[in-house]
């Protein structure tokens, strides 16, 4: 039996979380370094996973399978395809930056001496690592029940991260801020729990269907897909559609798709910038990832049935999110609405059912993670300097802090998908993939690129250019630690924008498999051009 690599990738941050939480109150800094070391070690392990993964090999690799709850056919089954590898790599990559960017976010307020038992700093970093572990398991799980457990469990640490460690800079008055924060945290939890509950019903329904037809119930994704392919397992049309809706609803809340999006601006606005990155760049990706893996894999016919509605919702998300981003007065909420627009693109790509669309959607998940992290973390640095999230409180930052403004601009340009930066590759693939099958949808989505330019440049203009605003005069430029967070992210954005081939090579075969699950092939060109 080979070394359980995937378990190790998830177990390492989990153990790290416990260890970080156990650091004594007085040794706060040690806890930070421990968390950073653990996240970096996880990154190394994730890199090993990426290198051990053979794009030309089996669909699921590095598989592990153990009985967990024998009575209900629940197994501890892990395995990754190219999509999973890409997203595990993204998660492992972003966490060190999240830790580093949040270095001082959970320090006790100045002037207050922490008592010996209350250890917020340790808790903050332990919770981040716990989220990392759960997200990685979710990306690796090939057992529906196992996935469900961690899909829901990650809400708990996220709830505490949002509600417990708010954006101090935005606190006009601590009581009001705490109220807003707990509202945001409860909203996040309730939204996602409601979605998860519906999914639980569908998970049980799925078990009932398999138990009924295969004689023995199973949650194994591979077993179910194989049984469906061989005709052993057939679902009645209505059953399949209902089960699909149950799964899809949960993922659409997490993704989030219009009109289930309203928790995201609250959660991202009230939490600290690193936690906001954790929400939108890491946790939300589980939703779109699961659409690709579970909705399409388990319910191909129902997916095809729902496609028109899902595409319409995705288009609404793209345009609606962008328009609302233009109308925001709060920097972090603006980025949140921009993310809603981007999630629209991801869902559009997934349900376009072409290799460009789905490959683009997978790249989009990775690229959006990196670009939003860059933009949001710089925004966080900016906000921590001035102590306000309102766009109107800034102006002329470019003059006093040129590096900060420059990195903010690059993050913004990535968000508006400038060619040469990574998001362009994925956005264009999604657009082309959609256009080949649904030209009208492709054209509507293209308008998103103008709106994106509008909200990014308006934000940049109002905060960074013009005469130096009050309260901005003495703003320091990026510090070394902050530069260490932003510079690698920007380098990655450029690298993946110019040479995304290593990533597409890993993702392409997995997308082909997914397309064969739903029995779709790319439309042929009208004229076979002389190549």
């Amino acid at each position: 039996m080979s070394f359980p690599l995937l378990t190790a990738v998830a177990a390492l941050p989990a153990i790290g979380a416990v260890a970080t939480a156990a650091v004594p109150a007085a040794r706060r800094t040690a806890a930070k370094w421990l968390a950073l070391a653990v996240s970096l070690a996880t990154l190394v392990l994730a890199a090993v996973v990426a290198f051990r993964f053979d794009p030309g090999g089996d669909r699921y690799q590095l598989t592990e399978s153990h009985t967990w709850i024998a009575d209900f056919g629940v197994r501890y089954e892990l395995g990754v395809d190219g999509i999973g590898v890409a997203l595990i790599a993204l998660t492992a990559l972003l966490i060190p930056f999240v830790v580093l960017a949040g270095w001082h976010d959970a320090d006790p307020l100045e002037g207050t001496e922490p008592d010996r038992r209350w250890r917020p700093t340790q808790g903050f970093f332990a919770l981040i690592l716990a989220v990392e572990a759960m997200v990685i398991i979710s990306f690796a799980a090939t057992d529906v029940f196992l996935f469900y457990v961690f899909f829901e469990a990650m809400l708990i640490p996220m709830y505490f991260l949002i509600g417990g460690f708010g954006d101090r800079a935005g606190a006009r008055d601590e009581g009001e801020a705490a109220k807003q924060r707990s509202y945001a945290a409860v909203k996040f939890l309730l939204y996602n729990l409601a979605g998860g509950l519906v999914m639980l019903a569908a998970v049980i329904g799925l078990y009932a269907v398999t138990a009924d037809q295969l004689g023995e119930g199973t949650f194994s994704l591979q077993a179910i897909v194989e049984a469906r392919a061989s005709g052993e397992l057939t679902m009645a049309q209505n059953t399949e559609r209902l089960l699909f809706l149950g799964f899809f609803l949960a993922f659409a809340v997490k993704a989030p798709l219009w009109p289930l999006h309203t928790w995201l601006p609250n959660a991202m606005g009230e939490s600290t910038a690193p936690v906001a990155v954790l929400i939108t760049a890491v946790v939300d990706k589980v939703g779109t990832f699961a659409m690709l893996r579970f909705c399409l894999g388990l319910f191909p016919e129902a997916s095809a049935w729902a496609t028109p509605v899902v595409l319409a919702l995705a288009l609404v998300s793209i345009v609606y999110g962008a328009l609302l981003a233009i109308g925001q007065r709060d920097i972090k909420r603006l980025i949140a609405y921009a993310s809603i627009s981007h999630f629209g693109f991801i869902v559009l790509g997934i349900f376009a059912m072409t290799s460009q669309g789905q490959g683009g959607a997978t790249l989009y998940m990775v690229n959006h993670g990196i670009s939003t992290a860059a933009l949001m973390l710089v925004a966080g640095f900016l906000i921590s300097r001035r102590g306000s999230r309102l766009i109107a409180d800034y102006g002329g930052v470019q003059k006093v802090a040129p590096v900060l403004a420059g990195t903010f601009l690059i993050g913004g340009l990535a968000t508006l998908s400038l060619p040469g930066l990574a998001p362009f590759v994925s956005e264009f693939l999604v657009l082309v993939g959609t256009f080949t099958r649904y030209p009208a949808a492709g054209i509507v989505a293209t308008f998103g690129i103008v709106l994106a330019a509008l909200y990014v440049l308006v934000l940049y203009q109002r905060t960074m250019t013009g005469p130096v605003g009050p309260g901005v005069e003495r703003m320091p430029d990026l510090r070394k630690r902050e530069l260490a967070v932003v510079a690698p992210l920007i380098a990655l954005l450029i690298l993946l924008g110019v040479f995304p081939k290593p990533l597409t090579d890993i993702v392409n075969p997995a997308v082909e498999h997914t397309l064969s699950d739903v029995q779709k092939t790319d439309p042929d060109p009208e004229v076979e051009a002389a190549k």
Partner: protein, 648 residues
């Protein structure tokens, strides 16, 4: 030789990276690094040009495949270059004029503390522009296309502390993005139709698809060209783009970037040839813009804005020529090159005037400057003669050919287009003569303090001088600025003649850009005569108004048309009413809707559940006796129910 192509792009790209990441330690040497790398790129271009001349006409296309960029399924985008006669022409123009403008900027930006960054942006622009013209597929062209948009954004907004500059930069980027939609959709249609978007396979097999598809692609490409080349209806950004430093206006907003739309149309000639409807749209856009720009140019008092209107108008000529098909393509490119020389020269001259006049741009505050800046006067004058099409100078050859080709279009269409082009020539002569007279001749109006006018904020005394008027001391610019102007003046004078010598330019391009002789309904000589007459009428009218009479230092109210033209023919008012305001209302409405309706539905559900539980909580009052009553009642109901069931 092929391997050198990549280096063409790499040299300025390296410069941009070094200058932008290098930090303050490069402040002293940065401009030299930038200029050296631009010059290196030009030398590489010259080497490649020499090599190209040494080969057979049919064997001059070089290509270089660097690496596979985005491979997903049938979608194969490569980073690959193609250097043929058309792109060679652009490479020389871009790197040549680019290097001159780098040199000019050394002097012009000498006192700017952010000069290093300025050169970084200029290098970035060169790299993106070269990528645009060297790409061998539409997606890579798109990358360069947006790259020049970014460089243009950064350079227009270079003086970001001025809100007007920041706004102008944003406007330019966003209007360009609207055009970019066209290019994206064109690429998508190409991929859907041909399964590829590389130049050769698409252009070779465009005949196999229907005219509808070709028209759709053509119109989308035209939209893209309108955005980049400031053609109606996406013209509104160019005037505001003059907020950038003058060398930027010369390089990006006159000589190179704005002509990218013409390059795109000529490069995609095969598509337009297969789509007559799209061609009609192209010539219409060209004709409308050439008049639009010229009319705006006649009314502006800001020297750079006049030149901006003129640029728009001249590109209108090129677009018009490109829309005429094989009878016009080569002339569009020829006019593009000669325009690159004289317009860059004119802008640099304007910059030199501003440099000597405390950055004043209002021509009503100029006058009689020829004594003080003789070199600027001479070079600007040659550029002036070239742009109005004075016989023998560059502009004459290229513009005359376009007017001829417009008549050769045939039928009523030919007469309308030819007439528009002739009218444009007269207007060009008018507004350029006006610039010359107001700037270099007449009284020295700058000696007196400006009279403030409540209606025209541009002529109010500069705020930074605290209301005290400081009389400028006009002087000639340093050598680093005058030398590029002299070189460009040479180009303005001789390029046209050289290109037309035995139709050299047309034959040079012919292997890649198809050419046919146009046959105008009247003889070519008549057209030329008409052009010269139009030119004389324009010059004469301007002299009557601005040469014979003194120029008022304060703009007169003017006719309705003048006032409209001063406001850029109401383009911004139109956009404001039709796009900006409704957009603002829509956004605000949606923000309200999201809060009240979408979020409200959720919060409403929460409130309903809360209210329901509040009601039901009252039953649980804690009194043991009330619980006993409910138990008794429940038991009684159960017994009654049981009995009833029995009975039934």
């Amino acid at each position: 030789m092929e391997t050198l192509i990549g280096l063409l792009v790499a040299a300025p790209l390296l410069g941009a990276a070094v200058l932008l990441c290098g930090g303050r330690r490069l402040d002293r040497t940065g401009h030299w690094i930038g200029t050296a790398l631009a010059a290196a790129s030009f030398l590489l271009g010259a080497v490649l040009f020499a090599d190209m001349l040494g080969r057979e006409a049919g064997d001059r296309t070089l290509s270089q495949h660097l690496f596979s960029w985005i491979p997903v399924g049938g979608f194969q985008a490569d980073v690959a270059f193609r250097l043929d006669q058309l792109s060679m022409t652009f490479v020389l123009l871009i790197t040549g004029v680019g290097t001159l403008i780098h040199v000019y900027s050394i002097g012009y930006m000498e006192h700017d503390e952010r000069r290093r960054r300025f050169f970084g942006y200029l290098n970035l622009f060169l790299a993106a522009m070269l990528l645009l013209v060297l790409a061998d597929n539409y997606l890579l062209l798109y990358a360069g296309w947006e790259g020049v948009g970014l460089a243009s954004y950064l350079l227009i907004g270079f003086w970001q502390h001025k809100p007007s500059a920041a706004t102008a930069a944003k406007k330019a980027f966003i209007v360009n993005r609207v055009g970019d939609i066209g290019l994206s959709i064109a690429i998508m249609i190409m991929f859907t139709t041909f399964g590829t978007f590389a130049f050769s396979p698409v252009l070779e097999s465009v005949g196999e698809t229907g005219e509808g598809t070709a028209t759709a692609i053509g119109l989308m490409l035209l939209l893209a060209a309108c955005g980049k080349s400031a053609q109606v209806p996406l013209q509104s950004w160019l005037g505001d783009a003059m907020e950038g430093p003058t060398p930027v206006s010369a390089l990006i907003h006159a000589a190179t970037m704005v002509t990218a739309g013409v390059y795109l149309i000529v490069r995609s000639g095969a598509i337009f040839d297969a789509a007559p409807t799209a061609q009609t749209a192209v010539v219409t856009v060209g004709a409308v813009t050439l008049l639009f720009g010229a009319i705006v140019g006649c009314a502006k008092d800001d020297i750079k804005k006049v030149l901006a209107g003129s640029t728009m108008s001249q590109i209108g000529y090129m677009v018009l020529a490109a829309g005429l098909g094989p009878i016009g393509y080569a002339f569009a490119i020829m006019h593009l090159v000669t325009h690159g020389f004289f317009k860059a020269g004119l802008f640099l001259g304007a910059g030199s005037v501003m440099h000597g006049m405390n950055d004043e741009v209002d021509m009503r505050r100029y006058g009689g400057l020829r004594k003080y800046m003789p070199i600027t006067f001479a070079t600007f004058g040659l550029g002036y003669l070239a742009i109005i099409g004075f016989p023998g100078l560059s502009g004459f050859f290229s513009k005359d050919k376009i007017i001829e080709a417009a008549f050769a279009k045939g039928g009523a269409e030919g007469w309308i287009l030819g007439g528009a082009a002739l009218l444009g020539a007269a207007l060009t002569a008018f507004y350029m003569t006006r610039v010359m007279l107001m700037t270099f001749f007449g009284e020295e109006r700058w000696r007196n303090a400006p009279t403030p006018s409540p209606k025209e904020p541009s002529v109010e005394p500069a705020a930074e001088t605290g209301g005290e008027y400081e009389v400028p001391h006009p002087h000639e610019s340093p050598k680093s600025m005058t030398v590029p102007m002299i070189v460009l003046a040479f180009g303005s004078v001789f390029a046209g003649g050289l290109f037309s010598w035995g139709e050299a330019f047309v034959h040079w391009l012919e292997p890649v850009v198809p050419f046919e002789h146009g046959h105008p309904p009247v003889s070519a000589l008549t057209v030329t005569a008409a052009t010269v007459v139009a030119l004389l009428i324009g010059v004469g009218a301007a002299w009557l108004q601005y040469g014979r009479k003194p120029v008022p230092a304060l703009a007169p109210r003017g006719s309705l048309l003048t006032r409209a033209a001063r406001r850029d023919l109401l383009q911004d008012d139109f956009n404001h009413v039709v796009l900006v305001k409704p957009g603002e209302y829509l956004t605000r409405g949606l923000v309200y809707l999201d809060h009240k309706v979408v979020d409200g539905a959720v919060n409403g559900t929460a409130a309903a559940v809360g209210g329901l539980s509040g009601r039901s909580r009252r039953i649980q009052n804690g009194y043991a006796r009330s619980y006993a009553v409910s138990m008794l009642g429940g038991a009684a109901v159960l017994v009654a129910a049981t009995l009833l069931m029995r009975a039934v």
